[in-house]
Amino acid sequence: MKISERTYNTADVIAFKSTKEEFGGLSNMAPGYSLRVNDIIIPSAEALYQVCRFPLFPHIQEEIISQNSPMTAKMISRKYHGHTRQDWEEVKYDIMYWVLKVKLSQNLEKFYNLLQKTGNSPIVELSNKDKDWAVVPEGHNSLRGKNALGRLLMQLRSEYINNNNSIDCVAPLNINGFLLYGSEIETVCNPEIEYENHFLFDLDYA
C-alpha cells in the first residue's frame, strides 16, 4: 500500500488530536477500545499496532501489552526499534488497516457510531510534526500530510459503514510472520459473536 501527501482544507475536515475531543475515539491512543487477539487482551489499537512490529520477540510484545497507557506502549516500542521486522515500511499500512478492522469488530457499537458521525467528511489526525500518519498545519486554513490514519479510517468507513458490510470477524493478514507471542495470529471476532455462538459460559456447577 502506497500513500502520497495531500492537502486538506481545515474547514472541510473532521479532525482529531486529543483523545478527549468529540472524535478522540478515532485515535489509536483512545482508551476504552480494548482488543483481544489469540486470547490475549490488548489495551489499545496503538499497542496492537506496535506489537506487530516485533513478531519474533514475544518479550517485547509482552512489555508493550502490559502497559495500560497507549503512549507508554509506543515509547516502549521506540526502545526496541532495532528489532522491527525488516519489511515494516512495506506492510505497516496494511497492518494498521487490520488493526482498525479489529478495533471496529470488537468495539462495534461505539466505534461504528463514531465513524458514522463523521458523515462523508475527510477524516484527519492533526499533528505538529507527523506528516506520515497525520497532517500538519501549512499556511492559512490548510493541512498537509499523507494522513495515513485518517485515510485508512475513511476506507474503513466506506467499507463497513457506508456499504454496510458485516465485520463480525476479521481474518489475519496474509503476510509472513504475522505472529503474536510465537503463534500465527488467528481470526478475531466481535465478543458478542464469540460468547454467544461459542457458548463460552455454558457451564454452571456446584
Binding site: 482508551p31 476504552g32 477500545y33 480494548s34 483481544r36 489469540n38 486470547d39 490475549i40 487482551i41 489495551p43 514475544p58 509482552e62 495500560n68 470488537q106 503474536l180 507471542y181 510465537g182 503463534s183 488467528e186 465478543p191 458478542e192 460468547y195 455462538n197 461459542h198 457458548f199 463460552l200 459460559f201 455454558d202 457451564l203 454452571d204 456447577y205 456446584a206
Partner: protein, 352 residues
C-alpha cells in the same frame, strides 16, 4: 496397594464429611474398589494420584486456614487496622442458591469472624459498605461468576462507584482456570468498561494453567490438568471427530513438547500413561449414555462448553464439599447401570 490407598485416604478423609445428604463415606476400601476398576493399572493410578493429590485437594480444615488468611490479606490490602473495622465496611456478595458452594464458603467465613474475632457479620449487614467481595470455591468456565458479577455491576450505582473508587469489588477463589478467568475479564470489560480489569481484585490459592495458545504463553503453562497427546487409539479420534462442536479455538490435544518441564505428575512418562488411562476409561463411560439427545457438554475428561471440540476440561482439583463436573468423569461418574463406582460421590447435581 493398601498402603497407597491408606495415604490417599488420609488426604481425602473429610470428603463430604459434613454432608447430611449422602451416606457415602470415603474409606481405604472404597479407594481400592475405585482403583480396581482400572484393572492392571490400578496401583499405578493410585500411585500417581497420591503424587499430585496433596496439591489439589482442599480439605475443610485447609479451606478454613485459607479463608482466615484471605480475610487478613484483604484487611491489609484495604488498609484497615482491625478486622472489626474492615468487616464493618465489607459486604460478602451472597447470590448463589442454597445448595451451591458460595453459601458454604460464606458460612465458614461467618464462623471464622465469630470464633476468631468475636464479630457477628450478620449484625453488620445493614451498615453502609465500601468493599464487596464475591467468594466461591472453583472457577472453571466462569459462567456463574460472570453472571453474578455482571448483575452486581448493573445494580444501582455500583459500576460508577467502582470506577470512581468509592466502592471496591474483589473475587476470592480457592482455584481458577486461567482460560475461564480470562474470558470473564474480557467479557466484563466489553459489557461494562475496560477499566474494570484494573479494579477487580482477585485472591486465589491455586491456578490451573490450561492455556495452549499462543505458543509463548503455552510454554509457560504447568498444564496441571489432564491434557492428552494426539497419539490416541482410533476410538478416541473417532469420538472427537463425531462431536458437533465447531470451535477449534481450544486444542483437543497438547503438543508433545509441553509442558516444557514436568512439575505436576511424577514424570513425563507417568503423565502420558495417567492421561491415557483416564481418557480411555472416561470414553467407555461416556459411550454408555444411550439417550437420544445426550448433553453435548459431557465429555470423557469432564464437562466443557458445548462448542469446544475437545475431550473435556480435564480439571484436577477437588474440595471437601464436592467435585467439579469439569474433572475427568472417572472421578465422579455415578449412573445406574453404567457399572462404575466413582471415587467422589456427587452432591446436588443430576446425572445422565
Amino acid at each position: 496397594m493398601k498402603e497407597i490407598a491408606g495415604k490417599i485416604f488420609e488426604i481425602l478423609q473429610d470428603y463430604h464429611c459434613d454432608s447430611p445428604e449422602t451416606d457415602h463415606r470415603m474409606s481405604i476400601e472404597h479407594i481400592i474398589e475405585w482403583a480396581n476398576q482400572f484393572d492392571d493399572d490400578a496401583e499405578f493410578v493410585l500411585t500417581e494420584l497420591l503424587y499430585f493429590l496433596p496439591q489439589i485437594y482442599i480439605s475443610k480444615n485447609r479451606a478454613i486456614e485459607l479463608l482466615e488468611k484471605r480475610l487478613v490479606d484483604f484487611q491489609a490490602f484495604y488498609k484497615y487496622s482491625s478486622m472489626q473495622e474492615f468487616i464493618n465496611n465489607t459486604n460478602f456478595i451472597d447470590t448463589q442458591k442454597p445448595e451451591k458452594s458460595q453459601k458454604e464458603v460464606l458460612s465458614i467465613l461467618r464462623n471464622i469472624l465469630d470464633e476468631k474475632y468475636g464479630i457477628n457479620y450478620d449484625l453488620l449487614i445493614d451498615q453502609p459498605k465500601k468493599h464487596y467481595i464475591y467468594f466461591d470455591d472453583v472457577l472453571a468456565t466462569g459462567g456463574t461468576v460472570y453472571k453474578d458479577l455482571s448483575n452486581w455491576l448493573s445494580e444501582s450505582t455500583h459500576l460508577k462507584d467502582v470506577l470512581s473508587k468509592e466502592k471496591t469489588i474483589a473475587l476470592s477463589l480457592f482455584c481458577y482456570h486461567k482460560l475461564g478467568f480470562d474470558n470473564i475479564e474480557w467479557r466484563l470489560m466489553k459489557a461494562f468498561d475496560d477499566r474494570i480489569k484494573n479494579f477487580l481484585l482477585v485472591g486465589f490459592d491455586y491456578k490451573i494453567e490450561n492455556q495452549l495458545k499462543p505458543k509463548w504463553i503455552a510454554e509457560k503453562q504447568a498444564l496441571n490438568c489432564i491434557y492428552p497427546l494426539e497419539k490416541q487409539p482410533k476410538e478416541v479420534l473417532e469420538y472427537l471427530a463425531s462431536l458437533e462442536g465447531e470451535n477449534t479455538g481450544v486444542a483437543a490435544f497438547r503438543p508433545e513438547n509441553l509442558p516444557l518441564k514436568e512439575i505436576f505428575f511424577s514424570s513425563p512418562e507417568s503423565r502420558i500413561r495417567f492421561e491415557n488411562i483416564v481418557l480411555e476409561k472416561g470414553l467407555e463411560l461416556i459411550q454408555k449414555i444411550k439417550k437420544a439427545d445426550p448433553d453435548p457438554r459431557k465429555r470423557p475428561l469432564g464437562d466443557t462448553v458445548r462448542s469446544h471440540r475437545t475431550l473435556g476440561t480435564g480439571t484436577l482439583f477437588f474440595t471437601w464439599r464436592n467435585i467439579s463436573n469439569t474433572c475427568p468423569v472417572v472421578f465422579w461418574w455415578d449412573v445406574p447401570g453404567h457399572d462404575w463406582i466413582p471415587l467422589f460421590c456427587l452432591r446436588n447435581r443430576g446425572t445422565n
